[in-house]
Symmetry: C2
Subunit: 335 residues, 2 copies
DNA sequence: GGACCTCTCTAGAACGTTCTAGAGAACTAG
DNA sequence: CTAGTTCTCTAGAACGTTCTAGAGAGGTCC
């Protein structure tokens, strides 16, 4: 049913020139007259020629291909993919994707990409042991996105999680809050740094006595459950590990008859699509996906092309997005 | 920094055999003695040989590669990817992914895959004009996933959206509801069929007089806005185009002081992660992702391998997932 | 002892590109 | 008119595989 795909040779025969010349035209390389160029392009278009990337790469050695590992469950990874495609296109590189799914682990995803002869590996939120990543980094550049990997051979581009919570606390303090509780993220990557950011900034505001960290987790259920013990004597504000958990918090608070933000202010983290829903309207901390993806791609290309790199780690600043779940503290119950 | 990757020739030289023999061993093809086989494998492992997929495909013509187009914004596409990877692995095929992002349209995504010489194209929720898909289908098998494409050359695997709303209406009627309103999906694919499913089933239950369809859309905001006109004289139940819009509906209802499910029952569509959140606990209609992905892969492979195919379209039945947003109608205001 | 297997292996041509080296034509300069 | 330069083009090798055809070695059968 599907006849053979046209090749360079077909175009060449049809246009009455050599394959080499067609190759030159297709690559937009110098060495062909304007007239021939146009004629060849016309023929190529007419017979529906499309270059075979595999053959091209095989010959040229270079693939200009960046391998990207992402997880299908994380909407945030989708946002990063968007940025990565843009950044790669700007530098005339292409992306090959390999997904981590509930039934397909990161090892498998990476192995698939290596067979594709990509020139660098970008792993979003890597979960492999550091040693495994380091092993791969010995063969080709590896950039970890969004999670810290402590190994000199692996580049890291991540958000300053710590600073994000500084901003959240600053925002709440500026609104007059003093009783600010932090809801933890459990074993999720980033938890420790966000917790530290909260604690440090509370101290810096002289609120040592008010520091209170509740165990939690990354899911909506985690948030809903974690906030329950607070209902008897609620704080005036809560910083939550991420947006999803924050929605659970909002729901529990409202069911308990507490008004947000009138009685309690809530700050999330990630600026996920969820937070932007107008009826949730969640104040949150946005990670700078554009900066992260741009840096990640630039770093990968620098390693590929041998450009010297100053620092292994790039840490991008987060940004507070004030929305409707935070407001001035009305009547602080403890002065 | 990264020395040349070892090739077949390197393994052959090291093991003192021909490249052809190494190829035989690596492919696990007949034609090598057990002893040689083991020796070659040892050498390959020692020097870290990995087959170059591109060269392999270039020569063999076959790529055993299925191209998949998905959108990064849709979490549901992630669920489908999971199933597609599983189904492809079972048939010893591989997937290459190409994403549609806010800045990268479906045309670009498809063009990228065609360069990869995949043997078939699976497009999740295609948005390209039928003619464009048909044009591609002339060259290689194309399977549309989740959206109807009316062209004889394009295979379709989709959910029986119509039937999903039958189930939703049946469920509500069984709970004693009569005043059931449907919230539409705007211009989103699937809207017409879901609306038709609602209307037909209402008629079948003799509820012609109660049929009421409100204009809406696929987002949470759409749902929240669409339900506003109902607040004065609310129905006892609402079927909503999808889960996301349903969350908007829930929020608006609750803010207006209506209890769900005591005053109003709500049914969503998709069984997205959102619906499963325990504090939303949304009754919804689940699409059978496993069946859809299995069929899609089977169909693609059938086309590739020339197996005769009976029907162009595969329609999988949906399934009602009863959760906490539906309950018996208490006091129907109109008998 | 020859004919015919089967088993293991190898040489060498593909696959569709890119790249190197160089050929011919058409100018320009002296 | 010759030498040099530039522009356009081509032949043919390479990339790392797979595949076809066939070569040797050894066995079985009559």
């Amino acid at each position: 049913m599907t006849e053979r795909r046209p090749t360079l040779a077909d175009v060449a025969a049809e246009a009455g020139v050599s394959t080499a010349l067609v190759s030159i035209v297709m690559r937009d390389a110098p060495g062909a007259s304007a007239a021939t160029r146009q004629r060849v392009l016309e023929v190529a278009d007419r017979i529906g020629y499309r270059p075979d990337r595999r053959a091209r790469l095989l010959r040229s050695g270079r693939s200009r291909l960046l391998g990207v590992v992402f997880a299908v469950q994380h909407t945030f990874h989708g946002d990063l993919l968007t940025g990565l495609y843009d950044a790669a296109a700007r530098r005339d590189y292409e992306l090959t994707l390999s997904a981590v799914t509930p039934h397909r682990d990161e090892r498998t995803a990476i192995a698939g990409l290596l067979q594709d002869r990509c020139e660098a590996l970008l792993v979003i939120g890597p979960s492999s042991p550091t040693s495994a990543l380091a092993g791969i980094a010995a063969r080709l550049p590896v950039v970890a996105l969004g999670r810290d990997v402590r190994h000199h051979a692996v580049d890291v581009v991540r958000n300053a999680d710590c600073q994000g919570l500084h901003q959240a606390v600053d925002h709440l303090v500026a609104l007059g809050h003093r009783r600010i509780v932090h809801l933890d993220g459990g074993r999720t990557p980033g938890t420790a740094e966000r917790r530290r950011g909260y604690r440090d900034q509370m101290r810096r505001h002289g609120l040592d006595a008010e520091i209170r960290i509740l165990p939690g987790g990354p899911t909506g259920e985690d948030g809903a459950a974690a906030v329950a013990p607070l209902l008897d004597d609620p704080p005036t504000a809560i910083t939550v590990f991420n947006d999803l958990a924050a929605t659970g918090v909002l729901d529990t608070l409202r069911r308990a008859g507490l008004r947000v933000p009138d009685d309690v202010s809530v700050v999330g983290y990630d600026d996920s699509r969820l937070a932007r829903l107008t009826y949730l309207d969640l104040t949150t901390i946005a990670q700078d996906t554009t900066a992260m993806t741009t840096h990640a791609v630039e770093r990968a290309i620098a390693r590929i092309e041998g450009t010297p790199v100053l620092q292994r780690e790039v840490v991008t600043p987060p940004r507070l997005v004030p929305r409707g779940t935070t407001a001035a503290a009305t009547a602080p119950r403890r002065p």
